[in-house]
C-alpha cells in the first residue's frame, strides 16, 4: 500500500547523483552477492519455479570449508569460514524484502517521479532491471516467483489489510451492485473473451489452431479477473469518491470466487478425456461451493477469533497474534478445500473486526493496524518486483495475433460488460452509476499478479502452448498496469470524477446518520413495506442481542456513537500528548471507558500507557489542581470531574475541527500549557450565585448555550499571576443542571478550551458543593509522577478535593 510520505524533496545535483548511485547499488546488491555466495555452496534458490531448469552448474560444487576431504590428512582449524548454505534460504528472502523496501524508500525520496508514475509501475521496472541483470550475469533464468510463494505468503497480507479496513457500511449498501459486477461481469468477460479468442484461433493463418476450446476457456478464466492488488495500488493514489472506489475494489475482491471456481473446473475438464453433462452441473455447483464455502469458513474463523479475544485481557501482548493467525488459518483452510481463500479472508476480517476491536487494548489495536499495513505494503512491493523479475525468462513464445487479439478482446469485453451491466443495474439503484463512473470502472479493470501466478500453475503436459499463454498474460498485465495505471490519474482529473473528501469523522455526523437510519426504518415500518433497511435493522438487532453478548467482553456492546466519540477523544489525547502539550486530558479516555461509579481495576498495561503519555509531556501542573487518583475516586466528585475532563476534551476537539476547517484565527490552537506558577489562581469574582466561576459575562440560565466569550472581559485578565496564554473554560454546575461554557483567551484569540481550575465559590456557599465543583482533575497515577518539577503544593491528602487558599 502506498503510504503517503512526507519526505523532503530532493533537489540539487549532488543529491541526484547520490540517488543514481543508490539505485545502481540497489540493483547490484542482490545480484552480486547471491551468485558469489551461491558459488560457495551449491543450491538452487527457493524461489525457482520447479519447472525451470535448475542451475545444474552448481550441483556438483560443494565447497565447505569445514568439510573433510580425505581421511589421510587433518584439516587445520580455519580461522575464518563461510557457510552460506546454512543461512541461504532466510538470507535470500530477507535480501529480497530489503530490496523491496529500499526501492520503496527510494521512490518516496524521488517525489517528482511518483506523481506521474504509479508506484506499481516503478516497482515492475526495478524488477525488470534486477531480472535482467541476473539473467545477463549468470545466463540462467532468474528466480521466478513460484505460485506457492505468491498465493501462500504474498497475497494474504494484502487481502487481510483490505478486508480489515473495508468500510463496512458502504460495502454492504452497494453489495448488490458489487456482486452483480463481480459475478455476472466476470462470467460475461470470460465467455466473451474465450469465445472470441477461440474464433480467432480457428483462423488458420495465425497458427493457433491446435488450441482447444477448453484450453481457451481456462486461459479466459484466468485473464478476465480484475486483480485486487493492482486495483488497490493504483486507486489508492487517485482518491476517487468512495462509492466508485468501493465498486471497483469490491468487484476485484469478490470476483475471486468466480475465477477460482471456473479456473479449477476448466482445468480439470481439460484433463478429462470425456465430458458428460454431470460435469457441467458439477462445475456450476462448484462455483456456489467455492464462494459460499469460502465465506462460511471466513465467518467461522472470524467468530472464533472474536471469541478468543474475549478472554485475553490478561495476556494483552499476544492479542494481535490472534487476529493474524486466525485470518491466515481461514485463508489456508479455504485453500485446502479449493474454496476461495480471498473471500474467506475478507469474511473473516470483516466479521472479526467489530468484536475484536472492542475486546483488545488500544495498543494491540495500534499494533494490528501497523503490522497489517507494513506487511501488506511489503507484500505488494515484492509482488510487483517479482512480476518484473519473472518476466525476464526464456519461456516466452510470441505470437502477434494471439497477443494482440487477447489485449483487444480484454478491453472490448470489459467495456461492453460494464456498459450493459450498468444499464441493467441502474434500474434497481437509486444512486445511479453515471457515465463517468462507468468509464472509470471499465478503465480500472487492471490485471495483475493473480492471473500471472495462475498461468504459471498450468500443467505443461496439458497445455502445450503454455508459453504462449504466459507471454500473452504478461503483455496484458504490463499494458494494464503501465498504460492504464499511468493514465488513469490524468483521466480522473480530466473527466472531473468526483473525488473523496477526506474528512475527519465527527460525532455530530454519526449522530445524524444514526438518527436518519432510525427515521428511515421507522417510516418503512409504518408503510408496512419491506426494504433492505429492514434487513439492515434486523441484522443490527441480531448482532446486538446475540453476537455482541457472546463475542464481546464486558457488559454491553458499545453504541457506534459512543465508540466514535471515545475513539476521537483518545486520538486527541494521544495527539496532544505526543505534541508535548498538556496531556491531562489524555487519561480522560480511560476515564470515559469506565463509568465513574464503578471503580474498576485498571490493568497495569493501561496504567503504564498512561504513565508514558504523562511522562512525555512536560506539562506544568497547576499546583492546586487536585491530583487525581484513579484508584480511589470519591464518589461525589466523580461525575463532575469526568465532565470537566470531557469539556476539556471538547476544547481540543474544537481545536481540531477548527484546524481542519481552517477557520483559525491567529494564535495557536493547540492546547495551552498551564500556568506554571503555582499560585496562579483565579480569584473568584462576584459571579452568579450558584456558579463556581463565570468567565465574565452573564450566563443565560434559561437556554443551554455554548457561549463563546471573549476573555478580555474575563476575570483572568485581572489575575496578576496569570500567564497570558491561558484559556478558560468553566463548567458551571448547578445543583441539578449543568451547562458548559467556553471561554476565550484574553487576547481575543480563539484558543483551545482548556479547563481551568474551578474554584469553589466563596466560602459562604456550601463547602461540599464547592468542593464538588472543583474539577481540575489531574490525572496522575497513584504514585508520583516522575517529572515533579513543579512545586509541590499538595498538602491536601485527598487528591481530589482542593481548596484554593
Amino acid at each position: 500500500m502506498t503510504m503517503g510520505g512526507g519526505s523532503p524533496r530532493i533537489t540539487g545535483k549532488p543529491c541526484r547523483t547520490s540517488l543514481r548511485v543508490y539505485f545502481i547499488l540497489l540493483a547490484c546488491f542482490p545480484n552480486v552477492f547471491m551468485p558469489a555466495a551461491a558459488a560457495a555452496s551449491g543450491n538452487s534458490t527457493t524461489f525457482s519455479n520447479p519447472e525451470t531448469v535448475s542451475s545444474g552448474q552448481h550441483q556438483d560444487s560443494n565447497h565447505y570449508y569445514g568439510s573433510t576431504t580425505s581421511a589421510s590428512q587433518d584439516e587445520r582449524l580455519s580461522v575464518f569460514s563461510l557457510n552460506y548454505y546454512h543461512v541461504q534460504v532466510p538470507f535470500e528472502i530477507t535480501l529480497w524484502i530489503v530490496l523491496a523496501s529500499l526501492a520503496k524508500v527510494g521512490f518516496h525520496l524521488f517525489h517528482k517521479l511518483s506523481t506521474y508514475v504509479p508506484e506499481s509501475c516503478l516497482l515492475i521496472i526495478i524488477g525488470l532491471l534486477v531480472g535482467g541483470i541476473i539473467f545477463g550475469a549468470e545466463v540462467r533464468s532468474p528466480p521466478v516467483m513460484s505460485t506457492d510463494v505468491f498465493f501462500l505468503y504474498l497475497l494474504p497480507p494484502i487481502i487481510l489489510d483490505a478486508g480489515y479496513f473495508m468500510p463496512g457500511r458502504l460495502f454492504f449498501e452497494n453489495i448488490g451492485t458489487i456482486l452483480w459486477y463481480a459475478v455476472i461481469g466476470t462470467i460475461w468477460n470470460i465467455a466473451g473473451i474465450s469465445l472470441s479468442l477461440y474464433g480467432i484461433c480457428q483462423i488458420q493463418v495465425f497458427q493457433l489452431s491446435d488450441i482447444t476450446l477448453l484450453q481457451i476457456l481456462v486461459f479466459g478464466s484466468l485473464i478476465s479477473a480484475v486483480d485486487p492488488v493492482a486495483v488497490l495500488a493504483v486507486f489508492e493514489e487517485i482518491h476517487v469518491n468512495e462509492q466508485l472506489h468501493i465498486l471497483v475494489f469490491g468487484e476485484s475482491l469478490l470476483n475471486d470466487a468466480v475465477t477460482v471456481a471456473l479456473y479449477h473446473s476448466f482445468k480439470e475438464l481439460c484433463q478429462m478425456r470425456t465430458i458428460i453433462a454431470v460435469d457441467i452441473f458439477a462445475a456450476i455447483a462448484q462455483f456456489f461451493v467455492v464462494s459460499i464455502g469460502g465465506v462460511v469458513v471466513g465467518i467461522i474463523y472470524g467468530f472464533v477469533a472474536a471469541f478468543t479475544t474475549r478472554f485475553t485481557q490478561n495476556v494483552r501482548i499476544i492479542e494481535p497474534l490472534f487476529v493474524f493467525l486466525f485470518s491466515y488459518l481461514s485463508y489456508l483452510t479455504a485453500e485446502m478445500f479449493h474454496m476461495s481463500g480471498i473471500m474467506a479472508l475478507i469474511a473473516c476480517s470483516m466479521s472479526m473486526k467489530r468484536y475484536v476491536e472492542e475486546n483488545i487494548s488500544m495498543k494491540s489495536s495500534t499494533t494490528i493496524k501497523y503490522f497489517m499495513k507494513m506487511w501488506s505494503s511489503v507484500s505488494e512491493t515484492l509482488i510487483f518486483i517479482f512480476l518484473g523479475v519473472s518476466t525476464v525468462t526464456e519461456k516466452h513464445e510470441w505470437n502477434w495475433a494471439f497477443v494482440c487479439f487477447t489485449l483487444l478482446f480484454c478491453l472490448l469485453w470489459r467495456a461492453l460488460g460494464v456498459l450493459v451491466l450498468t444499464w441493467i443495474i441502474n434500474k434497481f439503484r437509486k444512486l445511479l452509476v453515471t457515465r463517468k463512473d462507468q468509464f472509470i470502472i471499465a478503465y480500472g479493470g487492471l490485471r495483475g499478479a493473480i492471473c500471472f501466478s495462475l498461468v504459471f500453475l498450468l500443467p505443461s503436459h496439458v497445455f502445450p502452448r503454455k508459453n504462449l499463454f504466459i507471454t500473452a498474460t504478461i503483455v496484458i498485465i504490463f499494458f494494464t498496469v503501465f498504460i492504464q495505471g499511468m493514465t488513469i490519474r490524468p483521466l480522473v482529473a480530466f473527466l472531473e470524477v468526483k473525488k473523496s473528501n477526506q474528512q475527519r469523522p465527527t460525532v455530530g455526523e454519526e449522530i445524524h446518520i444514526r438518527l436518519f437510519d432510525h427515521v428511515l426504518a421507522g417510516v418503512v415500518d409504518v408503510c408496512g413495506q419491506w426494504s433492505h433497511h429492514n434487513l439492515r435493522d434486523k441484522a443490527r438487532k441480531f448482532d446486538r442481542s446475540y453476537l455482541a453478548k457472546l463475542l464481546i467482553r464486558g457488559k454491553e456492546p458499545k453504541n457506534s456513537i459512543v465508540a466514535l466519540y471515545k475513539k476521537l477523544e483518545l486520538k486527541h489525547a494521544i495527539e496532544m500528548a505526543e505534541s508535548g502539550e498538556l496531556s491531562k486530558v489524555s487519561s480522560s479516555a480511560s476515564l470515559l471507558g469506565k463509568i465513574p461509579k464503578e471503580v474498576q481495576n485498571i490493568s497495569s498495561d493501561e496504567l503504564k500507557n498512561m504513565k508514558e503519555i504523562l511522562a512525555k509531556s512536560l506539562y506544568r501542573i497547576r499546583q492546586r489542581a487536585p491530583s487525581y487518583n484513579r484508584h480511589s475516586l470519591p464518589r461525589e466528585t466523580a461525575e463532575n470531574q469526568v465532565k470537566e475532563i470531557l469539556i476539556r476534551r471538547h476544547g481540543s476537539l474544537r481545536d481540531s475541527m477548527r484546524s481542519t476547517t481552517r477557520a483559525r484565527k491567529s494564535g495557536a490552537v493547540k492546547s495551552r500549557p498551564f500556568p506554571q506558577s503555582q499560585s496562579a489562581r483565579i480569584p473568584s469574582r462576584a459571579p452568579k450565585r450558584n456558579t463556581a466561576f463565570t468567565v465574565g459575562e452573564d450566563i443565560n440560565s434559561e437556554t443551554e448555550s455554548l457561549q463563546l466569550r471573549n476573555l478580555s472581559q474575563s476575570i483572568i485578565g485581572s489575575g496578576s499571576r496569570q500567564s497570558p496564554n491561558r484559556m478558560e473554560w468553566t463548567n458551571e454546575v448547578k445543583a441539578e443542571d449543568s451547562r458548559s461554557n467556553s471561554g476565550r483567551d484574553e487576547g481575543g484569540r480563539r484558543q483551545a478550551l482548556m479547563p481551568r481550575v474551578r474554584f469553589s465559590q466563596p466560602e459562604s456557599q456550601d463547602c461540599e458543593s464547592g468542593r464538588n465543583r472543583q474539577g481540575f482533575v489531574e490525572i496522575a497515577p497513584a504514585d508520583q509522577i516522575e517529572e515533579d518539577t513543579h512545586e509541590e503544593d499538595h498538602e491536601i491528602d485527598d487528591p481530589l478535593l482542593r481548596k484554593p487558599k
Binding site: K430, L431, L432, T506, V507, G508, E509, I511, H512, L515, F516, H518, V519, L520, G522, V523, V524, D525, V526, C527, G528, Q529, W530, S531, N534, D537, K555, E556, N559, I561, V562, Y565, L568, L592, P596, E639, V642, K643, L646, I647, R649, H650, L653, R654, M657, R658, T661, A663, K665, N700, T703, E704, S705, L706, Q707, L708, R709, R739, S742, R744
Partner: protein, 215 residues
C-alpha cells in the same frame, strides 16, 4: 381489516396530483392506512402501536410526532394535531419519495431542502427554529441505549456534537457571539457533505406485498 371505505377514483386522482404518488401506490398506502386505523378515517397516535417493529425503534415517539407535526403537514403553526387524515398521512410520506434526477435543478434543490427540513423538525421539538443543546442531548439520550451509557456520556457527546457544529458554522464569525443552537442554515451546512437527502427515500411499491410479508 374491517370494512374498508375505499377511495373513489376521483379522490385518488386528486391525491395523485397533489402528492405525486402514483395511483397504485396510493391505493396500497390507503389499505395500509386503514389497517393501522382499524377502519377509521383518521389516525391518532395510538394507531402507530399497530406497527410492531416500531416499538423497538429508539426514536419511535419522534417519528410518530413527525406525522402529527403541523409544520410537516403544511400548516402555518407548529402545533401538533391529534388526528390525521389519509391525505395528511400521504403528505408526510411524500417527504420520502424518490426524486428523479431528470427533474429540473430548482425542483431537485427544493425537494432536497424540504427533506432536510423534515429532518430538522425531528430534532427541533419545540419548534423554535433552532436545535439547542438540550434538544441535542435528548436525541443522543434516545439514540444510545440506556444500559451502556450514563447521562454523563450522552450529554458530553451532545456537547461535543454541538461544539463541532459551532465550529463549522461559527468559524468565520466573531468571537463574541453566543451560539444558541443550530439553525436550519447551519443544519444545511452540516448536512451538505453527508448527502443524506439522497438516501432519504422509501421504495413505495407498485404492487401490494403486504399479503406476502408478515407484519
Amino acid at each position: 381489516m374491517g370494512a374498508s371505505p375505499s377511495l373513489s377514483a376521483r379522490e385518488i386522482r386528486n391525491l395523485a396530483d397533489s402528492t405525486s404518488f402514483s395511483s397504485e401506490q396510493i391505493e396500497i398506502l390507503h389499505r395500509r392506512f386503514l389497517h393501522l386505523t382499524d377502519g377509521k378515517t383518521t389516525m391518532s397516535r395510538n394507531s402507530f402501536d399497530n406497527v410492531p417493529d416500531l416499538d423497538t425503534n429508539p426514536i419511535k415517539s419522534r417519528i410518530v410526532n413527525a406525522f402529527f407535526d403541523g409544520r410537516n403537514l403544511g400548516l402555518r403553526s407548529k402545533e401538533r394535531v391529534d388526528e390525521i387524515t389519509f391525505e395528511n398521512f400521504l403528505t408526510t410520506l411524500s417527504f420520502f419519495q424518490h426524486v428523479e434526477d431528470t427533474h429540473p435543478k430548482e425542483d431537485l434543490e427544493f425537494c432536497k431542502v424540504e427533506k432536510l427540513k423534515f429532518l430538522f423538525r425531528m430534532y427541533d421539538t419545540n419548534g423554535d427554529g433552532k436545535i439547542t443543546l438540550e434538544e441535542l442531548r435528548e436525541i443522543v439520550d434516545e439514540l444510545l441505549s440506556k444500559k451502556t451509557t450514563t447521562d454523563l456520556t450522552s450529554s458530553s457527546i451532545a456537547d461535543a456534537a454541538m461544539l463541532e457544529a459551532a465550529n463549522i458554522c461559527m468559524g468565520q464569525t466573531e468571537t463574541d457571539e453566543q451560539y444558541d443552537g443550530i439553525t436550519f442554515t447551519d443544519f444545511l451546512q452540516i448536512m451538505r457533505d453527508l448527502k443524506i437527502e439522497s438516501k432519504m427515500h422509501v421504495r413505495f411499491l407498485q404492487m401490494d406485498t403486504t399479503a406476502m410479508c408478515t407484519q
